[in-house]
């Protein structure tokens, strides 16, 4: 809750120096083909992404599959080598740090992965899984033992659980173990990649609350990557919406959810089913056409234009750059919606039609 209070008192924490500054980050993967695995092209999974992360805040990153959100998270920690751009942690560029220096930096930047079944080594006891980062960083055995026991308690498990193996735990408990491991070195930033999407809803709420508590207790900044817009709204102070490798819109959660300015953000929000039958019956849902295009062959100009109901000629010719809308709100669109304007109104004012459900 501290994160929220602070962002409220100084709009989105701008009074403070950012902890992390990401500038024009690009990550390309080669496309290989043929017997000799020759490179025949590139997929730009993350293209030209810039944002800042402030102390104690949670930045949500949302988007559909293939939008580059997971690659973005991995590239920030250099689990993938960035192709271009900078990731500045304080004044230091993480993208050019040497191997030993990177190991030091990872004390401050940790990650929790989506799949609690795949991300924990099944052959070693939980105690060693959580203590491993400490062993690597040269803590003594007794120090490690004590801190691991504390961490287990902190994430809602028992110190005795340290002797067990990952398969003896449920999905929610495994995610708690992953969180305990990420906390072992008392990092400043944790990148959470879909931390609750493999969990049932009752367990998901437990883990989200735990994340809230440890964020306040350990003064953490989170980058919270997820596809579920409700979960992101619940956890995040600011939210970045990604589409095909680019940030379409970024803003604090009220700006973004209450007055989305990018047609993609509006369509995405409109597509989320809400667990409230009356609201479901009364609202009109914009149904986007088609699927997300292949990132190997993205559309020219604005990448959303092939599915955008208000696209014009300019959208195919020019790539929109992020424009400031005041405060922390930025949108990358040639024809952004006005405050309070719905996409449906814009579509109708242009004399076009769009698939609408419900209402």
């Amino acid at each position: 809750m501290t994160a929220l209070d602070e962002t409220l008192s100084s709009p989105s924490g701008r009074g403070k120096e950012p902890l992390l500054r990401v500038e024009n980050l690009v990550k390309e993967f080669p496309i290989r083909a043929g017997v000799f695995r020759k490179t025949v092209g590139h997929v730009q999974a993350v293209s030209d992404v810039s944002f800042e992360l402030y102390p104690d805040e949670t930045l949500g990153v949302v988007g559909e599959s293939g939008c580059g959100k997971t690659t973005l998270g991995r590239t920030l920690l250099r689990l993938e080598e960035p192709t271009a751009g900078k990731v500045l942690f304080g004044d230091e560029d993480v993208t050019v740090a040497s191997k030993p220096r990177l190991r030091e930096l990872r004390r401050d930047m940790q990650m929790v992965f989506q799949d609690p079944y795949a991300s924990l080594n099944p052959r070693i006891p939980v105690r060693d899984i959580i203590g491993e980062p400490m062993r690597i960083h040269g803590y003594s055995k007794s120090e490690t033992r004590e801190w691991v026991a504390d961490l287990l308690r902190r994430v809602g498990l028992l110190p005795e659980h340290g002797n067990r193996y990952p398969h003896e735990f449920s999905g929610g408990q495994r995610q708690r173990i992953g969180i305990a491991r990420s906390l072992a070195l008392r990092p400043k930033i944790i990148v959470l990649d879909e931390p609750v999407s493999a969990l049932d809803v009752s367990i998901q709420a437990q883990v989200l609350n735990l994340l809230d508590e440890i964020q306040a207790e350990f003064n953490l900044s989170f980058i919270f990557i997820a596809h579920d817009l409700s979960v992101v709204r619940h956890t995040s102070d600011r939210v970045a919406v990604m589409y095909l490798g680019r940030v379409a819109e970024i803003g604090n959660d009220d700006e973004l959810y209450e007055s989305p300015r990018h047609p993609y953000t509006q369509s995405l929000l409109s597509a989320v089913p809400v667990a409230d039958p009356r609201k479901e019956r009364s609202r009109k849902r914009i149904i986007l056409q088609g699927d997300v295009p292949s990132p190997a062959n993205p559309p020219s100009g604005c990448r959303f234009r092939t599915r955008c109901p208000i696209a014009q000629d300019k959208c195919a010719e020019e790539t929109p750059v992020a424009q400031d809308l005041g405060g922390t709100h930025q949108v990358a669109c040639h024809f952004p919606l006005a405050v309070g304007e719905t996409l449906l109104e814009r579509v109708e004012s242009m004399g076009r039609t769009v698939d609408v459900a419900g209402g």
Binding site: I203, A205, L208, L268, A275, D276
Partner: protein, 331 residues
């Protein structure tokens, strides 16, 4: 009220294992009327999918199954396998979560729909192919003529699910069982597929049994909902009564633990602990160990499903203490 299309009475399904019988479905009874959309919700292991598989008789041979399943006047648990086969895909069809495993990768999408049609109907290949193209068009596959000759891997996830729906409705079934039909899809594509399912339901008048963990989908798509927990039916009723006037602590806790898109930041209410083992269920009410309202009596006896109204029933000893107003989601 018309005659029910599907009437399930006291269905119990157990899977024998080395450690004992895993009780996946316990004494589940429900009815489904023609043209109705019934949602079955629950978390993993609640028995929602097994209930559907038992209705389709797609469970493994060793399964211990008791109870009664009447479909359109026939006893599905008693009829012969050839008879069942003539019902499957014609009168009852199923849409699975993962269309990639349900579609055969070595045949074209069109030929698979043709096969589904020709198993049940005596029509020529050409006729069936024309019908397949029509069906693909109906579910919104662009360029259906060309797409019919393509293989499943040439389809995107959303398109594959459309193809599955086309196949499922190819024989104008009376009942479509959709098991997590959009769980593998992105939210904008999910909206497309749910719209297709809705249109298909309107066009064919089929009843739909929608199995899902997503209460948002239920709120938008279903007429009635039944909530399952640890193999048992906990509550059943029309969606508004379940969402706004639930008389069951599990249903309420489930609804309350969903984060709100409208952004209230307070701590989410949670359900402590984990669902119980189906091998060794707790005594009494299965939700008792996690229930904030549990009293001693809850451990002694399994509560009965008690009627709240003609269409609403709940399984809870403290049903009279559950004041109907003020569930978490009412605004």
């Amino acid at each position: 009220m018309s005659e029910p299309l599907l009437k399930v009475d006291n269905l119990t399904v157990g899977f024998p294992s080395k450690a004992g019988v895993v009780q996946a479905v316990t004494e589940v009874s429900f009815e489904l009327s023609p043209g109705e959309v019934l949602a079955v919700v629950g978390e993993s292991g609640s028995g929602k999918s097994v209930t559907a598989l038992a209705v389709m008789r797609l469970h493994p041979k060793s399964t211990i199954i008791t109870g009664d399943v009447q479909f359109d006047g026939r006893d599905l648990l008693a009829i012969s396998e050839p008879e069942m086969r003539s019902i499957r895909g014609r009168d009852i069809s199923m849409i699975f979560q993962d269309p990639m495993t349900a579609l055969n990768p070595v045949f074209t999408v069109g030929s698979q729909i043709v096969e589904a049609i020709r198993i049940h109907r005596d029509v020529s290949k050409e006729e069936a192919w024309r019908r397949a193209v029509e069906l693909l068009e109906m579910v919104g596959v662009p360029e259906p003529k060309r797409r019919a000759s393509q293989y499943p891997h040439e389809y995107s996830g959303g398109m594959r699910q459309r193809a599955m729906i086309a196949m499922a409705i190819s024989n104008e079934p009376k009942l479509i069982i959709a098991d997590e039909p959009t769980t593998a899809l992105d939210v904008t594509v999910q909206a497309q597929v749910m719209e297709v399912l809705h249109d298909v339901q309107k066009a064919t008048g089929a009843a739909i049994m929608l199995i899902t963990h997503d209460l948002g989908l239920v709120a938008g798509a279903a007429d009635r909902v039944q909530v399952m927990y640890a193999s048992r039916l906990m509550e059943t009723g029309p969606i508004d009564e379940i969402f706004y006037e639930s008389r069951n602590p599990y249903t309420r806790a489930l609804i309350d633990s969903i984060p709100d898109l409208e952004g209230k930041k307070e701590t989410l209410s949670t359900i402590p602990g984990n669902p119980p083992s189906l091998l060794n269920p707790p005594s009494g009410c299965p939700f008792r160990p996690r229930c904030a309202m549990a009293v001693d009596h809850c451990a002694a006896e399994v509560p009965q499903l008690v009627s709240v109204s003609a269409v609403h029933a709940s399984r809870c000893h403290r049903i009279d203490d559950m004041i109907p107003a003020g569930t978490g989601v009412s605004s």
